[in-house]
Symmetry: D2
Subunit: 356 residues, 4 copies
């Protein structure tokens, strides 16, 4: 069978997308004259206000990478003998090259979470570590919203985790590299965002920007501002203080204006839903449940993977299960979805006809 | 006396300047469609080539902050019991919030350097530490070019330091946050850059971009590529792997095209020279030697500092000596210099007349 | 039922035992006049020789705590982005308060090991992490011999793990806090020790002393001496360089003389076997397999635990399964075993009769 | 000239001395039956009481090395962005192989102190670092009593430093590896010890044992017990939790009984005074002021050093100034002093006669 042209945009990751035009325009608009470095500029100040409008009485520090945001957030919560509890597949556990251990000196206690989500009873089971000098002391529960597996915690689930953590004297960090996708999936408005963050009891939130249309930028939002007491020092120490901060702030201001962050994430989610529909029921494409956010994790017949990947790149997820990951982004178009689905059908057709 | 309007651009720091238009254009031009994240894009590849054109057979990794660049560079050179030798006023020693100690776990051995420059004999004097298990082992000499005090090492001076360090089994790191200003000052061409870096024996170089017209971006250039063996992992671990790397690379490509980096730095240097001339000989303004790069460190009469700072902000340098720092940048105009000098004269006039 | 007197010696841990008389005598004998500190004394030199007699061409550094020994050993093997692979119940993972993460900045990748033993295929499954910059790089396989669960690796099992690790470019650390018990269990002579350490390909070994009759002291034995290149510095840096080293060395010399280490461990093992026999078949005492070394992990009826513990202390192991740990030591006597078994029978009798 | 026999005991360091007989006896006496590990034994409990008798309402944790004691103490006082202020010649700065930087991730701000003693105004000068995010935040002042240069702080001097530190929000750590020598020098009773520690405002004290007659053991005494909140975890994490703790505690109990610690240190100090007298006025032996504690730092004629060192070993102090260090210890006898002085005279005589 003839293969269609490969899609104009990648389905490898939402990191492969560029920046939204409004973001670039905001950067250009901020490039006027001088502005004091390190955040002593009006864009940064306005950005802090914008996060207060969004989430209430919070303190926000901008960072330049997602790993950096997590490190700053966790570092604000940890004492020397403290440990972070997270899921086994958490980004901080498997995709940050050991940054928490190296920079913060902290132990990660990683718990099994087949759907990417921790459960309160898993936290409770660690209570017997508390008070015993031989064990690193569980001090922070870190959850990812939406998770690395494309699932989302409901507001109630987050609240239950927070209650458990707080009851044990622990705090809760939310890695929200894709928080906008979760907010879009769970309701699509600001109230939804609040429901599973500040209202649920999360202590510190990493609010992702890069994957949702920025050139690059993340925000660490201290939902309990007193936790930010040493954050301005710590941000510099962990390599995350941008000198020309106005350009990070201007990007976020664009993203937070008129709920652009929700629109972009909602669009990415919708494209994933469309892709799921367009590729379901094909031989050799074993989808699980429909996507909650902007990622699909199909298991593919072995014969399909390489031809399809040669045609347009995507990543393996669990090679042993022939599971791959397809992601949509803020800039994925229906036409891209159509092209990609056509390619999948071509691969299936080749595979079935034995031509591969 | 009536004060003139304050200058359009700040003299507080070269960090207060925005981005050069060519840099912004390059970012916009790179914002087309998808590109794989983390450097697997064509801009990053071209940028690596551009650094090879500039400096020879080198390996280059881009980072997002200057502290991050230094940490990556030093981290590539250090084993667990190793120490970094630097000047007491080195940026890594006093202006990075202890990042080397925290992230790398290394000791800094800071030596007096009244003009910002280390001397080979200071390195030799540390030789008796080598081989003694009670002492952190001096392993890296870190120098800053141009220095934090606005001075520059000659190529011979760098070569002598490198020879001494290498003879003792140590390596040399150059913090080149303002390397372009040094290159412009010492000759203004690529051969000059090479003379005090790769030709002089420097092992790893941080080539600054942010202070010289980028939105934000630095380059760690391994002049001995074998030292980069673990750098791609280390960059991620120290929070410096930008996901949308193309936008950092595109900025550097613009800067390295047609020697823009040299033009911008040369201009900044020239503006500092003009400012020196325009403010010399005034009562209460005690300049030292003429500037070598883009910074002046005058000692001011106590009565001058606050009125002048209220009019346009600048930083103290050594408060005890009433020394301040004035910096020019790539975007400083002769008109800015004129305005600033007029303000200095107004302050002096007020101070002299006792009106202040 | 009347309870017997509680045993003269504790079954809580082999750490609860004192020092063997020969060890104390050796310390007293070394307390003559002056000896240069930090290992420049003849006892230390003789101790290094003794380990060469035992294990071949090795380099040995003595330390003062078991956690310290592991940290020194692992620290000698790790680069900045490296991770340690270990079992989930490894002492370094759960009983050292996060020391590896804090002091070495390393990630621990902990793998399930229901019997305390890693399998080569578990190491192979981590191969896909190698070369990917987002993952800490698996670099060291750490195994415990005998394990935290009282099992032992055969020489072949260790060799298979070493082969796998070395094939992937990794090294192997053996935490031998109870290595003597393993050697006694597997053959009881020096050739046995060699078979599962240097002959099997282990790179660095922690040879435990404290649990086997010393006042306190451990030995890090570099079976590949080139790995000790920076160890003398690292030992001081990680707080493990005793100043009056002769007193640590003298203890080890006593332990290594006339195979005292094997005799003491063999005796402890035999006592555990006796205790197993004496407490098997009792209602409410659910032993698993007979002990391989000097620990038993019975599951007890809920009603038994507290009365028995009040009578003589021991630790919970897995509270959820009502599993406890009973340990024998070098100084446990047959009479102690008889007393302890009598107490268990008394508890069972009380439990059965409903008197508890 | 004929040389006398070299002395029976070393003048190289007080670390070269053995243990006091009472200490060995206490260890032997504690070696009876079982005792729970990690400090849950009666000797440790009694030792904690003994320190309360000595210093008031304090919390004491025993450690196994001096570097470890300093690391535990400092680690209890430091947050992530904090720095330690110390003298340039502080043991933590030059003789602990960078342990504070590596284990604690902290910066050391080392200040010149020609006589080994910090001054309050040096602390005040660092106040401008406070609140600036680019600087590691001075948080702990660490002083050594007696100092590495053999000097002692008076109680008033310590109090002034503590007042300054506390006024700036900082705490004070005292490295008392040789605190007994200072107490003996300043008054020789317990009241003296209190005057320059708890009464002067010191927050955490490392009370040295090893150099004053123990086999090995140090005590971290939290003079403000609330600072010990996480210390029991931290001690394990930094490799300093001895499992058979009773043997460390028993040593300290012996030392604290009947003021043995003061007697031993007072004797060592007296021997240094005698040695000073016996070697003053000799050609080529340039003593400074008389010793305050148990160390002499004479500058020697170049021709004297090697012959004398070959006869009995001692360390260089500042080679550039031909300065060496001679130390006495608790076990130095008048006869040893006489022998050593005779050797010095022999070296001088040889040097003068040109026979060397």
């Amino acid at each position: 069978m003839d293969w269609p042209p490969s899609p104009d945009r990648s389905f490898a990751s939402d990191n492969a997308a560029g920046a939204h035009p409004a973001v670039l325009e905001a950067v250009a608009a901020a490039n006027v004259g001088s502005a004091l470095a390190y955040g002593a500029d009006r864009w940064t100040s306005e950005c802090e206000d914008a996060f207060r409008d969004l989430l209430g009485d919070v303190t926000t520090l901008l960072t330049v990478t997602g790993t950096g945001a997590n490190i700053l957030a966790l570092g604000s919560l940890l004492g020397p003998v403290d440990a972070v509890v997270c899921s086994a597949n958490a980004h901080i556990n498997v995709d940050e090259t050991g940054a928490p251990e190296r920079i913060l000196g902290t132990k990660l206690i990683d718990l099994p979470a087949p759907d990417g989500k921790l459960r309160p009873e898993q936290i409770d089971e660690l209570a017997h570590y508390l008070g015993v000098p031989h064990h690193a002391q569980p001090a922070v529960v870190s959850i990812t919203q939406s998770t690395e597996l494309g699932t989302v915690y409901t507001a109630d689930e987050v609240a239950d985790l927070c209650d458990t953590a707080h009851r044990l004297g622990m705090t809760v960090h939310m890695d929200g590299a894709r928080i906008a996708n979760a907010a879009a999936a769970l309701g699509g408005d600001v109230a939804t965002l609040r429901s599973f963050t500040i209202d649920a009891g999360v202590d510190v939130l990493c609010f992702g920007g890069t994957k949702n249309g920025l050139l690059g930028g993340e925000a660490v939002v201290y939902l309990r501002p007193e936790l930010a007491r040493r954050a301005m020092y710590l941000r510099k120490q962990v390599n995350q203080l941008a000198s020309k901060m106005r350009f990070v702030a201007a990007q976020f201001l664009a993203l937070l204006t008129d709920d652009l962050w929700l629109q972009l994430a909602g669009h990415a989610n919708a494209m994933a839903t469309d892709l799921y529909a367009a590729t379901s029921g094909l031989d050799g494409v074993d989808h699980g449940a429909p996507p909650q956010v902007n990622s699909l994790f199909p298991a593919l017949d072995a014969a399909l993977i390489e031809p399809l990947r040669d045609w347009t790149f995507f990543y393996d997820w669990e090679p042993a299960r022939r599971q791959v990951r397809w992601m949509t982004a803020w800039d994925t178009t229906p036409h891209d979805v159509g092209q990609f689905a056509a390619g999948v059908r071509a691969a299936v057709s080749d595979g079935t006809s034995g031509e591969n």
